[in-house]
């Protein structure tokens, strides 16, 4: 029991180490010195204050999305649609930013609430399609992701295009009062971090201490037994998806209201998919999620400097993180390794 608990905590280091080794081999293959490259990455993430702040600013929406996914994964749901939920949150926040005039505090509160609502409703669509229409959430999620992105493109090139003409890059910058209060000259908003921390604590408490969290766990492990024990699976599934969608929507709002200052074509930048990888790498352990999300943003921001300094393409950061996920999927559940060989079916 003790060994297994110890293993459970240390396990995420294994795929990370594996991915570092393979990435190093790749670097050697391309004639670069691995240590130098990793040093460049580190400098790119923490070299000066503005770089560190940009890691933080990237981290917050990723953390929000990952936190939301903890809920859906607990209920056994594959919320691939999280990318679209982020986008819809950003679209909704942009809508308020572009159309409402109000004092900054009220405007920002409104943007955040509407963004969360939009994300939650977008997620509810996936959930209802699953419970009522028998459509797997992965497929509806993928479709809804596509629709959300198309909607963004339409908005920036159509109704919301800047007065100087549609450039397909984004809307015009929002009114200054609509932007989240930023730390000095960075793109990092302490308010967003506060919200993310609150969300994280809420989710941890909900999953560990409430009856709702227990119901989600039961549904996620065995739908049939949970039903027979008295859990209404449909309602809880929809709620779990909406909860995750709300946090994703908030993440989208943070992207558009602090990372950018307008609605952009790729507003999410794949943060939703990245969040899926974060949670898988954390082996669904909530307390590992903030650290792994931070590690991801560090690698991804750091690889920009890597490119400047070593001429290696910045996608190396992406390769590194995705290799990690591959390794997780490979060695992911250490418990299964032992059971691997003596699987059989019943007579």
């Amino acid at each position: 029991m003790n060994t297994s608990r110890w293993l459970r905590w240390v396990w995420p280091a294994v795929p990370i180490a594996g991915a570092l080794v393979v990435t190093s081999l790749l670097l050697v293959l391309f004639g670069a010195a691995p240590l130098e490259a990793f040093q460049a990455m580190y400098d790119g993430a923490f070299g000066d204050q503005s770089k560190t702040l940009s890691v933080l600013a990237f981290w917050v929406p990723l953390l929000l999305a990952s936190t939301g996914l903890l809920v859906t994964f607990r209920a056994g749901l594959w919320n691939i649609g999280i990318e679209g939920q982020i986008v819809m949150g950003a679209v909704a926040a942009s809508w308020i930013a572009l159309s409402v005039e109000a004092p900054s505090a009220i405007l920002i509160a409104l943007e955040i609430v509407v963004a969360m609502l939009a994300g939650a409703l977008w997620a509810a669509l996936s959930a209802v399609l699953k419970t009522r229409g028998n459509v797997h959430e992965i497929f509806s999620g993928l479709a809804l992701n596509g629709i959300a992105i198309i909607l963004t493109n339409y908005l920036i090139s159509g109704p919301w295009q800047p007065p100087e003409g549609g450039s397909f890059r984004g809307t015009q910058p929002f009114q200054p009062g609509a932007i989240l209060p930023l730390f000095e000259n960075s793109r990092f908003s302490p308010l967003s971090l506060l919200l993310a921390v609150i969300a994280f604590i809420l989710v941890v408490v909900a999953l560990r201490g409430t009856f709702w969290g227990l119901k989600l766990k039961a549904i996620g492990q065995n739908l049939r037994s949970a039903f027979l024990l008295g859990v209404s699976s449909e309602r809880e599934m929809i709620l779990a998806m909406m909860f995750c969608g709300a946090l994703a929507g908030l993440g989208g709002a943070v992207r558009t209201l602090s990372w950018f200052d307008s609605l952009r074509q790729s507003i999410s930048g794949g943060i939703g998919f990245m969040a899926l990888m974060v949670v898988m790498l954390a082996n669904y352990n909530a307390f590992l999620v903030p650290f792994i999300a931070f590690f991801f943003s560090m690698v991804l921001r750091g690889s920009l400097t890597l490119q400047l300094r070593t001429q290696l393409h910045s996608s190396l950061g992406g390769i590194l993180t995705e290799l990690m996920v591959l390794f997780v999927l490979l060695f992911g559940d250490w418990k299964k390794l032992a059971l691997f060989r003596n699987k059989g079916d019943d007579g």
Binding site: K215, A218, Q221, N222, S225, L228, L229, S232, G344, G347
Partner: protein, 487 residues
Amino acid sequence: MQIELRDIRKYFGPVKANDGINLTFEGGHIYGLLGENGAGKSTLMKILSGFQPPDVGEILFDGQPQRFASPADALEKGIGMLYQDPLDVPAFSVKDNYLLGRDRRIVLDYNLASRELQEMTSRFDFQLDLGTTIDNLSLGERQQLELARLLVGGAQVLILDEPTTGISAEQKEVLFGSMRKLAREEGKTLILVSHKLEEVQELCDHAMVLQRGKLVGKLDIPCRTEDLVEMMFGQVPERSERSDYEFGEPVLELVDLQVPTYRLTVKDVNLSVKAGEVFGLAGLEGSGQRLLLQACTGLQHPDRGKILLEGKDVGGWPYHRMQDARVGYVAAGRLEEGLVAGLTLEEHVELAKPKHSFFINRKELATKTESQIEQFQIVGRPDSNADELSGGNQQRLLFALLRENLKLILLEHPTRGLDVRSSNWIWEQLYLRREEGTAIIFMSSDLDEIFERSDRIAVFSGGVMSRILETKETSVDEIGHLIGGQA
């Protein structure tokens, strides 16, 4: 061709699905392979058809040892298996589907397929529309197609797994006709895996009975149905005297109930069970008992007739509403339908409570779980996962999770796989419940248990419930006939 199975063993963890089986099948004969669920029939047939290898043992064809790499390899060597659900692709046309398993060249030869299929259909009187797609065919027609594919593929031995479930009476006649033809005229070996004693009596030359992974008997047919029943279930002692128990008012009444499903329809059930009564449902697995129990819990819905709970019609009520109306249900699959493998005992206790607060009160829950563990004598800790418990302790946990003051408890195989002590303990708990006026309906494949525990008994066969028998006035003989479907 003579097929010999020599000392076949196949273990799944601690379960001995096949435990040293020796069998010989001769060409030109039809064999019936009988046994209750879990007796090891499917495992044995999967081994013979190349689906899985045995752990120990040999398969010999005319004395030559054989090894199969896959079912396709087995078919090439002459063994074909017709599964209960034919292995076909619904969206495909009949010919495509036929060729999928036949043709190995790049270009599909539709003319050849038509010729072969037409020859087969006329030879065996199959009614097969060759121009349509699989999803337009009935189960019986899909079976005929599959049969044709296996025969053209060179099957000398045909294994048929419960082939008559879900097909029409006419199709059954055609199927049996072709089976006889194959055996008598073409010298093929046929193995019928079945629950239905009547069909085995009608069609087969020999019956072989498996019980708990072992061959327990061989009989030449015709024989007495009771002998088959006895081999399948073991010796059943006559019922010992038991004091009468005063029943209360009727709790559950079923009036002309009909519960339809895709495979099986339970028809015309009339039954009234009183408070404090123990009612036993016998019959082979899949004969409709489970469906009836599920209808009474709201998991299946009747399309005709009434379900009255203390006089109130609850026919369309969903399961959770029935739960609140104090109907308890314990299904057979403990970790599939009842317990959640990754959850602790404590978490189960919390989930099963009828009322909940938003936050879980850990302290209160710990106390409650401790007391349940003690009361129900569960060997486990509050933080043990349900799947760490032994089968008997899982069953105890399920009983611990039943709510208090139930009007009706419905049970599937309440003591399956349990030792004598645990079984007795379970029944003591149930008797305590009846003292409170709870009516109990249970199904079991253990005739011993049915005889010993029930006040009255009904037997299911092919979806039809027999007349209701007073346990005191019936005999193993009578039940045996009813199980075999003979009224």
